[in-house]
Point group: C2
Chain length 458, copies 2
């Protein structure tokens, strides 16, 4: 049996950093969403790129699946082990290796979390802006092309990764990119590995672009009579060039869930939560300008603040919103959708989705990174009810199809994993086979995170 022989060989390499304990297998076989548990056969805890390469080389010799693991906060089953094998937990590779303040870049190991990095950077005047909500590892964020609330201003991981060290499927270690701000020296391998979900190689070092801490930050909140009014305000703000750093939609159902969970007192209507980064005067002007735009579109209860404590309370509520929504129905599990559409179609997409959810009978509060045209419906289902699961999956499928019809994508930031495989042909057509050809060239034996992202091998 190939997996057990790989485990035997790895035990001599890693000693007690190769775990087969039940708790380790359980933890690494679970996800945050609706997938059934799929544990690996063992969990490796390497400390260096060389050790990762040794693990992968051994697994390649024994044709054993290899699954990279950061913090386990992905939502599409990326870190599950549907074919068993070895999960490589990278959390002990958590060093910030080099900070280059004048060049505004930093090189980290993959187990560094985004909060740990920003704590490390606190005194440099710099920060790393990408914020998917969870305190994810930077390796996982790179591998899933994460984004979140600040992408409207600072871009996604695609825009903020300068270079990588990657262990390939045969154990070779390659470097991609440089510390230069741009390059046209051949294929963009960095961009290819960003979002490749562990299916092409294991990322063991990441060089990230940093940004200057803004001189000032203001935050704001505004209620709207309708979701369409809120979206129109977003479009106007972006087209007028107001530099929003965050612009988040919380629909009525989400606002009520947050009230119940966090003791907040949102009125029962859709809200936009905003943040502005800039000079002391700019953040005041931007907040005021947005207030005027909001009023034009039926906004009410507009409040803004330049105080850190107000801002922190606002974003704590937004970050907790997913857990608030989960808590709004006891014993529930979630299917979290993630469509992203051209912003001119966003209001239509949101309204059609809300109507569809309302007629399904399943609760589905909506949160949106609306500056990017990206939103999530959190479909709350009884895990023991196959009919609710079927209903929710059909809802999610209709949302994805609707997004494609509008020129959008089935996933703005959560990735493919196991959960979006059935929509890849609809989005990509023959280009999905092109992805399969890359996979076959990089990993001919299919050992790297099998069952995710690419078409099943024939």
């Amino acid at each position: 049996m190939s997996i057990s022989s790989a485990i035997d060989a790895l035990t001599s390499v890693l000693g007690d950093r190769l775990s087969r304990s039940k708790s380790d297998l359980d933890i690494h076989g679970r996800s945050e969403t609706h997938f059934a548990p799929m544990p690996p056969d063992a969990v490796a805890y390497p400390l260096t790129t060389t050790e990762v390469a040794a693990v992968v080389r051994t697994c390649a010799e024994h044709n054993c699946p290899v699954i990279p693991w950061g913090t386990g906060t992905s939502l599409e089953g990326h870190s599950l082990a549907p074919q068993g094998g070895i999960t490589i937990n990278l959390s002990r590779m958590d060093a910030v290796l080099t900070t280059n303040a004048p060049d505004m870049d930093v090189t980290v190991q993959p187990g560094v979390t985004r909060e740990a990095l920003n704590t490390h950077l606190r005194d440099t005047g710099l920060f790393f802006p990408v914020d998917p909500g969870a305190n994810a590892s930077l390796g996982g964020m790179t591998a899933t092309r994460a984004s979140g609330t600040t992408a409207v201003r600072y871009g996604t991981m695609r825009d903020n990764v300068l270079g990588l060290t990657v262990v390939m499927a045969d154990g070779r270690v390659v470097q991609t990119g440089t510390r230069a701000r741009k390059s046209s020296a051949g294929y963009d391998l960095t961009g290819l590995f960003v979002g490749s979900e562990g299916t092409l190689g294991i990322i063991t070092e990441i060089t990230l672009r940093l940004h200057g801490q803004p001189q000032a930050i203001s935050s704001a909140i505004c209620g709207f009579d309708t979701v369409a009014g809120a979206v129109d305000a977003v479009m106007d703000a972006i087209q007028m060039g107001i530099q929003v750093a965050r612009i988040e939609l919380v629909d009525t159902a989400s606002a009520l869930a947050v009230n119940a969970y966090s003791g907040a007192d949102f009125p029962a209507c859709p809200h936009l939560l905003l943040e502005f980064h800039g000079s002391d005067t700019a953040v005041v002007e931007d907040a005021a300008s947005f207030g005027e735009i909001a009023t034009d579109h039926g906004g009410h209860g507009f409040e803004w603040s330049a105080k850190a404590e107000d801002r922190n309370r606002l974003w704590k509520m937004r970050h907790d919103a997913y857990y608030a929504i989960l808590a709004s129905r006891k014993g529930t599990t979630a299917i979290v959708t993630d469509v992203c559409v051209p912003i001119s179609r966003l209001a239509d997409a949101l309204l059609a989705t809300q109507n569809d959810i309302a007629s399904s009978g399943i609760p589905g509060p909506i949160l949106g990174h609306v500056g990017d045209g990206n939103f999530h419906a959190i479909l709350l289902i009884d895990p023991d009810s196959p009919s609710e699961m079927d209903t929710a999956k059909a809802l999610a499928s209709r949302m994805a199809t609707r997004a494609l019809d509008m020129g959008g994508t089935i996933t703005g930031e959560h990735g493919v994993g196991m959960g979006k495989l059935d929509k890849m042909t609809a989005e990509h057509g023959d280009a999905w086979a092109v992805m399969g050809a890359i996979k076959a060239a990089f990993d001919p034996d299919g050992i790297m995170n099998p069952g995710k992202l690419v078409p099943p091998a024939n």
Copy 2:
């Protein structure tokens, strides 16, 4: 003979849009730099994606090389035909297909030039910012991952292409990307084709990100005692968050060449040329703030203007600088270097390069997109002097090695083509073989722009 049988087959498809005239072969066998002429055997002028696919499918059947051609303004021999074959001239596919103003995107055919696109967009309040100098085709700019003077503010083609239609090596037509602002739906095929130099497929449609025309624009010019002073001013400006839209270095030798060619009157010293985009007040403040920074670093003769005519004159001179430099030595040809380094190393790189050029005896004026750490030495050589060619190539090679030693890249924006093949191992190590594996997966017979970018097939 495979090429001649491909030509016979294509004649029946394209009629007189397949040319074998001497003038066509000559034009498509030349480059703007030092490469010897390498004409194709025929030039195809397709009008549609379907016709491009038919040409490629026919060439695939006959194992005939296919070379895409935009405006022929690339600098590394990208559009030459070292193995003969069919050049596909895409200039007649020059339609702007769809402009989506609310979403700030546009879809074009590859033969649309950047100036034609901006003329088309004039009344929309939007523009396409990437400006490599030449009035290049957007297909060529995509294929070489072009950037130029505005990348410091708006990014490169990597950052401004949302999606593509591509004819693959077997004639299949695939779509990559969507009109959504972000996606994590699998491998970033769009990013892989951007900068692939025609070696993976022929780009036949491009969806581009547009930007709002700035409310106001100001420009400025400033002399410096030393290149180091100019670079220090650049670093300070960027770290202070001054939003420069262009920040260009013209060294003393370049300034004198521009004087002779354009009748300008630059003092004999290094200069920075700048542009600021923003609100009426912001562009005045930014120019003034930069003036203060410049003074701190030995700047003198600082002048700024918000008048379009001053700005147009300034950038006309900058755009003509390459031709001014060529004209500064009669009967010359050029080797144009293109290194890009982390900005903290830029002053060192520039000074070492200037010293190296001075001791070589070859003229080598320098122009730089210094906000990105990218600069060009235009090495002027007698095309009939093998020893000057050898000296210049050795100089260029040392610059590339120096850039790599500093954490930079051998090419910031010109691409690999035929001219940088010998430095790819130094920059990428084993990752160059990974590029070769992608090439082999996409184009197993090696018909797509052979002799460029990837390692030679065994």
